[in-house]
């Protein structure tokens, strides 16, 4: 047991730092600082820089473009990118779909889809959830019937509705779970399809979230024609792919590095804000105790994650214990948002998003949008397998209850 970094690891950290400093896109930095909704192009700027450098897919196998980094290097990478407030790489193609393709796909599918994912040339969305199938994902009803068309080729005709599709408004392609055998047990009749979002019959409709943003969508599929070769893995065995994907969705969900960065921001805000007695808020006995408790909680999570990483590098995959990371990680993120909002007192109330440019100067700049972040942050304990479902998983898989 030791916690020291080797000289090589420290040199790697310096290299990463320098690279970010010299190559992070200035226009993206500006857009982030302004806190506005990013355009599709802006979302992909940093992705493209990293693709050129060869650093965009640390999680992939080396022969497919992965970095071959050790778990410690990956840890340093996530720490440094979070510290520098780099935009996270969108997970849909890179860390959700790609592992499914390189684990279950044919060589042709790998050749066709992985390079575009790597280079950020195709935007993917995740079409799993349906109005009637959330936590109980296996009850999904979107149906795909196999036909032979006039051109002599085989297609699936897809009908149904997906919902909560994150950033589906920008998506070029989506990966979908569809029911191909209505008579089988729920988990046994599902297939995993890749669908071009420009196919006729697809309609994407905005869902506005409670803080006013456009992040999720309904996706309606009306007789959407999908070539059979766009199916990953065997017909009716899509659930196997989906479960593998969910495991990948869980890794990294702890968000330790990002929470550390947000804790720094919170400390800064609380050093600037005044307490009722007139000193700095961070000097206020009540407030400083809450920050200290949160720091301790975050440290515990960090070391739990490090233990999980160490387990992974010694060949054990991420087990159901990683549900701990999801539960504690999201609770800490939410607590950080809550304390930041609390710290700014009265200036949590103004809703200035629609007034930008005309009504600046209301309260300190760092207060702007904190309430929205807190409201929006409630999603993290709901999606990716809700925290209740994660507790069910630990109860069942770990404790054997």
């Amino acid at each position: 047991m030791n916690l020291d970094f080797t000289p090589e690891e420290n040199a790697f950290r310096e290299e990463v730092r320098a690279f970010i400093r010299d190559n992070y896109p200035a226009e993206l930095r500006k857009a982030q600082d302004e806190g506005r909704q990013l355009t599709k192009e802006e979302y992909l700027l940093w992705h493209k820089v990293l693709a050129k450098k060869g650093w965009v897919a640390p999680g992939w196998p080396k022969e497919l473009g992965g970095t071959g980094w050790t778990p410690t290097q990956k840890y340093i990478w996530s720490e440094e990118t979070a510290k520098a407030d780099c935009l996270p790489i969108l997970p849909f193609g890179m860390s959700m779909l790609a592992p499914v393709i390189y684990t279950f796909g044919t060589d042709e599918q790998k050749k066709k889809f992985l390079p575009d994912i790597y280079n950020g040339d195709i935007w993917w969305c995740q079409g799993y959830s349906e109005p009637g199938a959330g936590s109980d994902l296996a009850s999904l009803k979107t149906k795909a019937e196999r036909i032979t068309a006039d051109d002599g080729k085989e297609y699936y005709i897809v009908n149904g509705q997906k919902t909560w599709t994150t950033l589906g408004q920008y998506a070029d392609w989506g990966f979908f779970l569809v029911r191909t055998d209505p008579d089988a047990k729920p988990q046994s009749g599902i297939s995993f399809l890749l669908i071009d979002m420009k196919t006729p019959g697809i309609e994407v409709r905005r869902i506005t979230t409670l803080e006013g943003g456009h992040e999720v969508n309904d996706v309606f599929l009306d007789n959407v024609k999908v070539p059979v070769e766009n199916r990953i893995f065997h017909e009716n065995q899509g659930w196997t792919c989906a479960k593998a994907l969910l495991a990948h969705e869980r890794t990294g969900i702890a968000g330790v590095a990002r929470s550390k960065r947000n804790l720094e921001k919170l400390r800064k805000i609380a050093s600037t804000e005044r307490s009722d007695a007139g000193g700095s808020l961070i000097g206020d006995a009540f407030f400083r105790r809450k920050v200290a408790e949160l720091e301790i909680d975050l440290t515990a999570l960090e070391f739990t994650e490090l233990r999980t990483l160490a387990g992974e590098s010694s060949g054990k995959g991420p087990g159901p214990e990683s549900s701990i990371l999801k539960i504690k990680g999201t609770e800490i993120q939410q607590r950080l948002q809550e304390l930041a909002l609390e710290a700014v007192g009265h200036y949590g109330a103004p809703f200035l998003r629609d007034l930008r440019g005309s009504n600046l100067g209301v309260g300190p700049e760092y207060a702007d949008g904190l309430a929205g972040e807190y409201f929006n942050g409630r999603k993290t304990s709901i999606y990716g397998g809700s925290n209740e479902i994660q507790r069910n998983i630990i109860a069942k898989m770990v404790l054997g209850l």
Partner: protein
Amino acid sequence: MDFSFTEEQSMLRDTVASYLADNYDFDKRRAALAKAPNWRPDVWKAFAEELGILGAPFSEELGGLGGGPIENMVVMEELGKALVVEPYLPTVVIGGGFLKHSGYAGAADLIGGIIGGQNIFAFAYAEPQGRYNLADLTTTAKKDGAGYVLNGHKAVVIGAPYATHFIVTARTAGGQRDAQGVSVFLVERGAAGVSTRDYPTVDGFLASEVYFENVSLGADALIGPADNGLPLVEKVVDEAIAATCAEACGVLRRLQEGTVEYTKQRKQFGVPISSFQVLQHRMVDMFINLEQSISMTYMATIKLSDDAERSKAASAAKVQIGKACKFVGEQAIQLHGGMGMTDEMAIGHYFKRATMIASAFGSVDHHLSRYEFLSLGQAA
């Protein structure tokens, strides 16, 4: 011991509830808040003329209904249930409170204007640096002949964009946070040197930064005693806290009931999600929080007339309400799953209001400290 309402109080509740059911459903509210003037003068007019509720806590000789804090509580709870943004709290409770308790010479006329719906008040007390400390004031009113000259900046003044009158706290003597040297002034919206920067709030209200630049005030602008206005401010703010707690009870009830209803009809894994024991216990805790909040609201409202106990009671209630708003609000969203995250469903809007109430007139920490001091004395 009696916790029942009089017949008049029950009628008042029914009147407000049935008017709001007919005229203030969630969709109507949303449509009105989305377009100018972003509040509903027609509703305010109806409150004054059709319902007569703007006179609820005023004596009959002033033209009111002869009620008091209990009547405010009854009205505020109903306003909370419908997420009403119109300014009953700043106008009737706070504006009315200052006028009633100060022995202000022009009070009768001004209260007549409140009851009639013409006078709308906003309470300009908070300052950018002051957090929840009512005495932390950099706004100054300097003696000038018989009157005063007012200068300063007030933060997030709820209802200011359409107020006709401001109640302003200002320093007339002493240092920035001294208890002595605080005075209260009545400033008309049109007075020279008053300007506002208006914006909506995250929970659908309108508010402003309010700036006073060399505003000339006559001697008759002073409400209550010169330099020794803080006890009056605290009394009225305690009343505002009790009324806000009552509003919260309405909000919490909708969050709790809405969640029970939703989980009974939402099915996953082939059963209503309300059948999962972990969710049942969560909803039981939401319910307990609601009931405890109602109890504390009654307690604080009853003790408003007891000057020895009033502040302690108000702070105790606000601590309970602040915690309940957070727990019940967050769990309501959690138990709605993705649906709770949408702007389209009312539940998120109740959550946002609950979040803002949690820190209104002081956060849980603020009121815990105040309670500690009042109950246990100075910390060692």
